[in-house]
Amino acid sequence: MSALPAYASTGQRIWHYTFRYVICGFILFFLIAPILTIIPLSFNAEDFFTFTPAMLSLSPEGYSLKHYHDFFTNGDWQQALKNSFLIAPAATVLSTALGTLAAIGLSQSHVPFRRAIMAILISPMIVPLIISAAGMYFFYSRIGLQGTYWGVVLAHAALGTPFVIITVTATMVGFDRSLTRAAASMGADPVTTFFKVQMPLIIPGVVSGALFAFITSFDEVVVVLFLGSAGQKTLPWQMFTGLREQISPTILAVATIMVAISIVLLSVLEMLRRRSERLRGLSPS
């Protein structure tokens, strides 16, 4: 479907366009509808998640930047933002590195106790979060990790690894093992083989796994509520307190800022990719 061939019939054309613009369009709209909702609400002049009549009539009085002002001037929010960006990347690196290695190990042909090992490794995903949180809280308190930066990072890394394992093994299923054998027969050592042959092929799996791991930590509230103390208060924690204690569109302002940052970041990455493609003389397909 990448490009509709010139000989496509009318039926094929109709299906092609219906699929692409109606079905996928609807689903993509479903995906971003909540974001489209929160952006205007974050400029609400009132302290509620409500489209006020003033907003609907597009009157300037209905809108204000006060929630953004609150976010930028409030030390609690700034500290929470900082903590989130200190914790999530560390947890992601840890879980992606360990998870990718283990996934490669697991996809070898002869792994003893494979099923049991797999069950253990994905257990952080299976156990209800609240049980994990209480159990880890209890255990981490005893070994003095509760309320510390590394305690939260280790817990989040543990929660993130199943995603890396699952996505990487899924790409490994389609991996043609003769490629590594070919590389080995041509004299490449296992490390070179891994980085030159295997890695490029499983990289989509690793990236999506890392993304899941990052989000798991970045958006995680239950475990951090338990394992963190005042010094590890992350954005979700701050948001959670906000939703519980006093609803304020500040959390919508934060979300909007996050969306804006990620759009910029992803666009820059995309631009860089195109640039490097051009430099390498590859025309964008």
Binding site: L98, L106, Q108, V111, I126, I131, A157, T161, V173, D219
Partner: protein, 538 residues
């Protein structure tokens, strides 16, 4: 997932006479060594993560889940009572006898000193509503119990009972603690009480115990046949011989504070047989009461029974949790597959733009997205407003799309959809377009080529995505709590309640264990029936 090719065996090698490799080694041995090396390498790769997960996760969770059967608090708090109560016939319709109440007085004296009696009360209250106030109210009044009648009785028979020597002699007898189980327990309580009250260890050569221990001794002696007392009077220890000679035949004159009546005065709960049955039932150190509660059952005098209809909750919630998770997984496949397909088949440039749309919600906090769905779905919300404006529904017919099952399904599908799209996309990307072209060139129609060639290749992606989505949804609780109302909440919401609100961690652990077993069983079945590798080959 179960991605390996464990099935591919090397059975073809065995059977024939051992061929040799080039360097003269038997091929079998050489292969075995290679196999071993491969196994080791695999384990070596897995080990770091395995160790990490075992220590940082499995151990703590195992510890937590063990609470679903662990119940040592009753015996630890009321050791003497539990021992004395073991012989009580719960169906007799009578309260336990005086010996049990004496032991209770003794145990409670220590328990209130170290402030653990109310903790036991709250534990028992999970199974026996109302008992926690019995313990709470008894705490302070225990100190005022009359407990010296037995002590006075012993001293009246022989003033030597007022000396530490008497107790030292008693404790050095061969029959201690065997014949004096209640007294020995009471002595331990006394030592602990003394340590807590005086902040120093008891010196048995200078003090005699408090009245409760004499009462325990009285009950031990009263329950012995006369021949035993005669036997004690003939033991080797001379001090003890003197003591027991005096006692022989006079046990009945020692007397006893009526603890049963005193307890009934403190709180009428102590005269309630139901409470005693509960204590006896919950005496063992390992109990099944939490698991029974987790499946809406209880142990009554007639055995294990289902709870009355108006108290059943958990089985219904388990079924609902699984049912809704399946629906959510299904909707994720339905919505995720087309988008992943689109992503995999667009030009890199276009697909990256679409990918940004898919990833954007991901960058938005779950709490925010859930709040956004509230704004969209509620009766005075955006969607209803639009529908009324467009004339599709009238003002009175606003749709109820939130605070029920629909709300949970919509919000969770949205939250989990990227977990379906991304694995699908990464699998679809590895499928070469030449497969489809080949099929079509051989005359297959579009749909035939898709279903027979393309789709089977994407099954590992569907498998990975479904497992992710299903398992994640089964354990969610924040979103259902916010948008689920009463019909859209999951079992995890109850687990969370028992962990953070009722402190009934035993029940939470039992519910969590059942959930865990269910998920593992489903995963196992899935692996057996669908078995990703097999489907791919078929």
């Amino acid at each position: 997932m179960s991605a390996s090719t464990t099935a591919s065996s090397n059975s073809s090698i065995s059977g024939s006479a051992d061929p040799l490799t080039k360097d003269g080694q038997p091929l079998k041995r050489s292969l075995a060594r290679a196999l071993r090396r491969e196994k080791l390498r695999a384990l070596f790769l897995i080990a770091p993560l395995l160790i990490f997960i075992l220590i940082s996760f499995v151990l703590p969770i195992g510890d937590m889940l063990f609470r679903s059967v662990e119940n040592k608090i009753v015996e630890d708090t009321l050791p003497g009572t539990v021992r004395a109560l073991a012989s009580w016939d719960a169906d007799s319709g009578e309260l336990p006898d005086e010996a049990v109440f004496a032991a209770l007085a003794d145990d409670m004296m220590l328990a209130q000193e170290v402030k653990i009696h109310t903790r036991l009360g709250s534990r028992l209250n999970y199974d026996q509503p109302g008992i926690s106030s019995v313990f709470r109210k008894s705490g302070r009044k225990i100190k005022a119990l009359d407990n010296e009648t037995a002590q006075a009785g012993f001293i009246a028979i022989d003033p030597a009972w007022d000396t530490p020597d008497a107790w030292t002699a008693l404790r050095s007898m061969a029959a201690w603690p065997g014949k004096f189980a209640a007294t020995a327990q009471s002595w331990k309580n006394w030592e602990a009480w003394y340590l807590s009250e005086e902040k120093e260890a008891l010196d048995p050569t200078t003090t005699v115990p408090h009245g409760f221990t004499y009462a325990a001794l009285y009950h031990d002696l009263a329950s012995m046949p006369a021949s035993d007392i005669t036997a004690l009077a003939n033991s080797k220890n001379t001090t003890a011989v003197a003591l027991f000679k005096q006692l022989a035949g006079k046990i009945d004159t020692i007397g006893n504070d009526d603890f049963k009546a005193q307890f009934a005065d403190i709180d009428k709960g102590w005269a309630d047989i139901d409470n005693w049955q509960a204590i006896q039932r919950l005496s063992p150190r390992i109990v099944d009461s939490y698991f029974l509660a987790a499946i809406d059952a209880e142990r009554t005098s007639e055995g294990i029974e289902q709870k009355p209809d108006n108290e059943r909750l958990y089985l219904k919630l388990f079924v609902r949790t699984i049912f809704m998770s399946l629906i959510i997984t299904g909707s994720c496949i339905l919505l995720g597959y087309p988008v992943a397909y689109l992503l995999a088949n667009l030009s890199v440039r276009a697909s990256n733009m679409v990918l940004i749309l898919v990833l954007l919600p991901f960058w938005t906090s779950l709490l925010v997205r859930t709040s956004a769905w509230k704004v969209l779905l509620q009766q005075q919300g955006v969607i209803n407003d639009l529908l009324v404006w467009a004339g599709v529904i009238n003002e009175a017919g606003r749709l109820v799309m939130i605070n029920n099952m629909t709300g949970t399904i919509i919000a969770m599908t949205h939250i989990l959809l990227p977990f379906m799209i991304l694995p699908l996309f990464s699998v679809m990307k590895t499928i070469s377009p030449t497969y489809m072209r080949a099929a079509k060139s051989m005359g297959a129609s579009d749909s035939l080529a898709f279903w027979r060639v393309y789709f089977p290749n994407t099954v590992p992606g569907i498998g990975a995505g479904s497992i992710l989505v299903f398992i994640l949804s089964i354990g969610y609780y924040i979103t259902p709590e916010l948008v689920g109302g009463t019909t859209g909440v999951f079992i995890s919401n109850r687990i969370a309640y028992h962990i953070s609100s009722s402190l009934n961690w035993g029940l939470a652990a039992a519910l969590g264990s059942i959930l865990l077993i269910l998920v593992l069983a489903l995963y196992w079945t899935y692996d057996r029936i669908v078995g990703i590798d097999n489907v791919k080959l078929g």
